[in-house]
Symmetry: C3
Subunit: 351 residues, 3 copies
C-alpha cells in the first residue's frame, strides 16, 4: 500500500514536471524524455486502478479492463499524432506496440519463465496463444490484402479507406465475440490468487485515480507527440526507430515489467496472458478502433502498411504461434523472439 | 424420396427455363440469374446421384466421387470460360470456389457446429484438416514461386506454361497418392450412418440421372458464361466480384447447405470432411487438371495469379490450418473466417 | 571395417584424379564431374571420421560435430566462390543445400520411413522438428525484412551489410544457446545404439583422416568452383540450376543416403535428426558464419536474396513444420515435399 502511494507520488511529480517543461518551452529533448517516463508511469497507475475497480467484477473482467485501459496512453498518442497529421508516427506507434509485446516482451517473459522452471521448460495453457494467433491472422489478412492491392496499384487500392472501415468493423465484431466467450469461460484459479498478492486501492479512490490519470495521460500524450518531432531531429534518430522502439517500449514498459516478473515467479499462465491479451487488443481492438476514430480527422488511418511492416507482422504472427502454440517454451525460443526484435530495431534505425 | 423427386423436378424446370431464356435471347441478367440457380440445383442432383451410385462402393469412395462430380459444373464453367478466352473469369472462378469453401463455408460450418455443441466447442478428427493443408501448401508453393518469378519478370517467367504443366503433373500425382491412401484408411463409422439418413435413388436410376445431369450441367455452364459478360456490365458489378463471389457461391451452394446442416446436427466429422474435401479437390485436382486441359485451348491457364490472390491464398491456408489443425473450433474462429471472406469480397467489389 | 577402407581408397583415388585433371587443364566438364563426386566422398569420409572422434564425447556431441564438419565442403565451396567474386554461386549453394535437405531429402526420408512402418505412418520425436522450425523462422525473419527493404529500396536497404552482420551475430548467439541446451538434454537411447552398428576408425587414425580430408575438401572445392563456370557454359545449364540442384545434391549426397537408409531401417528418430540438424545448421550456423567470413572478401555475402528464393524458403519452412511438427508423417506428405522440390528445380532450370 505504502509503496503504491510512493510510486503514485512519483508519477504525479513526473506529470507535473512534463507540464512545466512543456509550457516553459525548454529543449524538446527534455520534454520528450520526461513525458515518456510520465506516460510509462501513468500506464502503471491506470493498470493498478483498473485492477482495484475490477475487484467488483472478478478476474477475467479485470484482465480485459486492465489491458484495454493500459493501452489508453497509446490510444492518445496515436490520436494526437493523427490530429497533427503525423501518419507515420501513428502507424509506427501501433506497429511498435505490437512488435514490442509480441517479440521483445514475449521473448523476455519466456526466457524468465523457462529459467525459473526446474526442467527449463515454461508451461502454460494453449487457449490464449491460439486465440491470439487467430485474431492476429484476421488483422493480417486485412493488412496483407490491402497492402498487396496498394503495391500493385489496382482499382481497389483507391478505396483503401472504405475497405479499411469495413475491415475494422469486421475485426471489432470478431473481437467482441471472442472477448465475451473468453470472459465467460474464465478459469479464475490462478488469477484470483494474483489479486491478493497486490495491494489495490479502495473502490472509490480507484475510480477517482482512474479519471484523473486518464485525463493526465491524454494531456501528456499531447505534449509528448508535440516534442517528438523536434526532439528526434536534434537527436538525429530516425522517426521510424523512435516510433517503433522508443515510444513502443515507453508505452508498454509496465506490461513488460509485470509480465517478466510474473514469469520469473513461475506464474506462467498469468504472465503469458498479459502479454498475449495485449497483442490481441492492439491488433484486433486498438488498431481497428483507431481506423474508425480517424474518420473524424483529416489524416485517415488505414490498414495499408509498408511491405517491411507487413513482412514483420506475418513473421511475428507465425513465430508467436509456432513457439507458444504448444503450451511449452524453452530459453532459446525466447532468445529467438528477442533476436528477431533486435534485427527489426536495427533495420528501423537505418530507415 | 418424395422430397427428392420434387426437388429433381424443380431442377429440371430451372434447366429447361435457362435453355428457353438463352435461345429467346432475353435480357442476359435473367439468363444469368436462372442459369446460376440451375447450376446450383444440378450440383445438388449430381451429389445425390453420386451418393446413390456410391452405395455399391462404400462411404469413402462415395465421398470422393461426390466431391469430384459435385465440382463438375465449376469444371465446365472454367472450360467454357477458357474456350471463350475469358482468362480472368476462369481464374477467379477457381479462386472463388477455394475462398468460398475455405473461408465462408468453413466459417459458417464451424459457427453452426460450435453453437450446436453443449460446451460450445466443435470437435472433429484432425487427419483431413492436416492433409488438406499439406495439399494446399503444395499448390501454394507452385503459385508463390511462379507468382514471384512473374512479378520480378526473370527468365523463368517466360516459361510459366511449361513450369505450370510440370507443377500440375506433380500436384495430380501427389493428390492421387493421397486419395488412394485416404480411401484405404477409411473409417466408415459415421459416414455409413449418414448413408441411411438420406434416401438415395436406385442404382440404375442414379446412373441415368448422373449422365443426364452431367450433360445438363455442361450446357447450362456454357449459357451461364455466355450471359455473364453482358449481365455483369448492365448490373455494374466488377468482373472480379462476379467470379469470386457470385459464381463461387452459386457453384458451391449445395456443399455449403449440406456442410452447415450436418454441423448443426452435430455431425462434425462429416461436415468438416465435405468442406475440406472440396478445398483439397479444387486446389490439388481441379486446378491442375484445368491447367492441363487448357493446353487444348488458345487461352492457357497457368498457376500465375495476381499478388492479391496469392496473398489471400496464403492467409487462407494458414488460417484454415491454425483454426482446424487442432481438431477443435469455437464460434469466434468461425466468425474470423467469415470476416476474412467479407473483407476479401469487399476488396473484389472495388476491383 | 574393410568396406570402410575400400571406400576410403576410392575417395583418395577420386581426389587425386581431380587434382590431376585440374592441373592437366582438361575439359572443365570432366573436372567438374570428378570433383563433384570427390566432394561427396570427402563429405562421407569426414562424417565417418567425426563419428569415430566423437566416440570420446557421446552421441549428441557426435551428431552435432558430424553435421558441422559434414558441411565443410559446402563451407569451402561458398568461401572460394566468394573469393572469386561469384556471389550468385555462393548464394545458390547455401539455398540449394537448404532446399535439398528440407524438401528433397526430408521427403525421400519420409517416404522411406512411412513405407517401412507397418501401419504406413512414420513416427518420431517432435522436439527437433519444432526447434529447427524456430531457428529457420529466425533466419527467415532476417531474410524477409532485408528482402522487402531491398525490394522497396528504402533507406535501410543501403545498410544491408551492417544489418546482415547484426543479424548474423543474433543468429549465431541463438544457435549456440539452442545447441548447448540440445546437447545437454540429449537422450542417448537410440543414438548410442547406432554407434555400434557402424565400424568407426581408431581415435588417432580418425584425427589424422579428419585433418587430411578437411584439407583435401578445401582443395577440391577450389578446383570445383574454378571448373564450374566454364563447365556450365559448355553444358548450357543455367547457373541457378547448377548451384541449386547439382552442387546441392553433390554436397549433401552422403547425408541423403544415410538419412534415407536409416529411415528404411525404421530408425526414424535418427534419420529425421540428421536431416533436421543439417537444415538447422545451414540456416542458423553456416549461413550467418559465411556472412561474417565474407567481410574479409571484396564480395560481401548478405541475407538479401531474390524474391523467388525468399518465397521458396518461407513455403519450405511452413511445409516442413506442418508435415513434421506433429511427429507423424505418411507417404503422400513425403511426396508433397519431393514434388515441391521438383517444381523449384524446374523453375531454376529456366532461370
Amino acid at each position: 500500500m505504502r509503496k503504491t502511494v510512493l510510486i503514485l507520488a512519483g508519477v504525479v511529480v513526473l506529470t507535473v514536471l512534463t507540464a512545466v517543461l512543456h509550457f516553459a518551452h525548454v529543449e524538446p529533448v527534455a520534454v520528450f524524455v520526461v513525458a515518456g517516463a510520465a506516460l510509462g508511469g501513468l500506464a502503471w497507475v491506470i493498470s493498478i486502478a483498473t485492477e482495484s475497480v475490477g475487484d467488483r467484477f472478478g478476474p477475467a473482467v479485470t484482465g480485459a479492463l486492465q489491458s484495454t485501459l493500459g493501452n489508453l496512453p497509446e490510444l492518445f498518442i496515436v490520436l494526437f499524432a493523427l490530429s497533427a497529421g503525423e501518419l507515420v508516427v501513428a502507424r509506427t506507434s501501433i506497429m511498435g506496440s505490437l512488435f514490442a509485446n509480441g517479440l521483445l516482451v514475449l521473448g523476455l517473459t519466456i526466457i524468465a519463465g523457462a529459467r525459473a522452471a526446474p526442467d527449463g521448460v515454461m508451461r502454460f495453457r494453449t487457449r490464449l496463444p491460439q486465440d491470439t494467433t487467430t485474431l492476429l491472422l484476421l488483422t493480417i489478412a486485412i493488412i496483407v490484402l490491402l497492402g498487396l492491392s496498394d503495391q500493385v496499384g489496382d482499382r481497389a487500392s483507391k478505396h483503401a479507406t472504405t475497405i479499411s472501415v469495413i475491415g475494422a468493423v469486421v475485426l471489432l465484431v470478431v473481437f467482441t465475440i471472442w472477448l465475451l466467450d473468453y470472459l465467460r469461460s474464465d478459469e479464475p484459479a490462478e488469477e484470483a490468487h494474483s489479486e491478493k498478492a497486490r495491494s489495490p486501492l479502495p473502490f472509490k479512490a480507484a475510480i477517482a485515480v482512474l479519471a484523473v490519470s486518464g485525463l493526465a495521460a491524454a494531456l501528456v500524450s499531447d505534449w509528448f507527440v508535440e516534442a517528438l518531432d523536434p526532439a528526434v531531429k536534434s537527436l538525429g534518430i530516425s522517426k521510424a526507430f523512435t516510433g517503433l522502439v522508443i515510444v513502443a517500449i515507453a508505452g508498454n514498459a509496465v506490461e513488460n515489467v509485470v509480465g517478466i516478473t510474473l514469469a520469473a515467479k513461475r506464474r506462467s499462465d498469468l504472465a503469458i496472458s498479459i502479454v498475449k491479451n495485449s497483442v490481441a487488443q492492439i491488433s484486433a481492438f486498438l488498431f481497428p478502433a483507431l481506423v474508425l476514430c480517424s474518420l473524424a480527422f483529416d489524416t485517415r488511418l488505414t490498414f495499408v502498411l509498408t511491405p517491411v511492416f507487413i513482412g514483420a507482422l506475418v513473421v511475428m504472427a507465425v513465430a508467436m504461434w509456432q513457439i507458444t502454440g504448444d503450451g511449452r517454451a524453452i530459453v532459446f525460443e525466447g532468445a529467438a523472439l528477442v533476436g528477431a526484435y533486435i534485427v527489426l530495431a536495427t533495420l528501423m534505425w537505418y530507415e
